[in-house]
């Protein structure tokens, strides 16, 4: 099963959904949006929020095109700076 997953990822590595830091979105707001969009608990949402704040960005999902696009739509509807990028 692990090998099959590796093969699938090698064929289609999907997209990384990335949330980028900015000085205007409030930290508690970003945490709230992560909880809403991804259904995460507060601890996980805060971990990613802090990663955005401290490291400039956080990879919040790795998905196929449609799901990644859906997440970017959701995050941008809350006015977070979110993009989908091919893994390096």
């Amino acid at each position: 099963m692990g090998e099959k997953t590796d093969e699938k990822e090698a064929l289609d590595p999907g997209f990384l959904v990335i949330v980028w830091n900015d000085p205007v979105n409030l930290m508690d707001y970003v945490t709230h949006v992560f909880m809403k969009v991804f259904g995460w608990n507060k601890t996980k949402a805060e971990t990613h929020m802090l990663e955005v704040h401290q490291k400039g960005k956080s990879v919040v999902a790795r998905e196929g095109f449609e799901k990644a696009e859906y997440y970017v739509h959701q995050l941008q509807s809350y006015h977070l700076e979110a993009t989908m990028e091919k893994p390096a």
């Binding site: 900015d22 000085p23 205007v24 979105n25 409030l26 508690d28 707001y29 709230h32 809403k36 507060k42 696009e69 970017v72 739509h73 941008q76 509807s77 809350y78 006015h79 993009t83 989908m84 990028e85 091919k86």
Partner: protein, 165 residues
């Protein structure tokens, strides 16, 4: 603006007449930007062009829907009811999410129109021109209302409900 009740994600606030007027004035600026410069990727990927257009259309439609919701629920008073000399504001879960999206569009768009300053603090604000003052005020006040809503939803041990926006 004081949280009176929280039942699940249904929130009931008490607001003074001044707070209600301030909130309504802030919301009257929505949307501050008709187009938000939507982009799916930081890299120029030609194959994402169609999807980027779709994102821009989706965000425009969202603004139209939120404007209609604002008129129906908040500006025409549907969510407000008088309570003595004050007002009650009742928001269900969907209302709260929509109000957060509206407030944050105003906050982020103010920041964009100000030239995306790296510093938002008061000292930096004092250096700004008089013409930028309304945008600074809009950015700061919408942020205060956002925090009241988020603390009402999730609680804040350092700040009991009822803090002034």
């Amino acid at each position: 603006m004081k949280l009176l009740e929280r039942e699940g994600e249904r929130l009931v606030f008490r607001m003074s007449g001044r707070e209600k007027t301030l909130l309504e004035r802030l919301l009257s600026f929505y949307p501050l930007r008709k187009d938000g410069g939507a982009h799916l990727s930081r890299l120029a990927e030609p194959r994402l062009e169609d999807a980027t257009q779709l994102l821009a259309e989706t965000l425009r439609e969202q603004k139209t829907e939120l404007s209609a919701w604002l008129s129906r629920r908040l500006c025409d008073g549907g969510a407000f009811s008088p309570a003595g000399t004050n007002w009650r504001l009742v928001l269900d879960a969907e209302d709260t999410e929509r109000l957060l999206q509206v407030l944050n569009e105003l906050r982020v768009s103010s920041w964009v129109k100000l030239g995306r300053p790296a510093e938002l603090d008061a000292e930096e604000n004092e250096k700004s021109s008089l013409s930028a003052a309304p945008l600074h005020a809009l950015m700061m006040l919408t942020g205060q209302f956002e925090m009241v809503l988020i603390h009402a939803l999730h609680g804040d041990p350092d700040r009991p409900p009822g803090g002034q926006p």
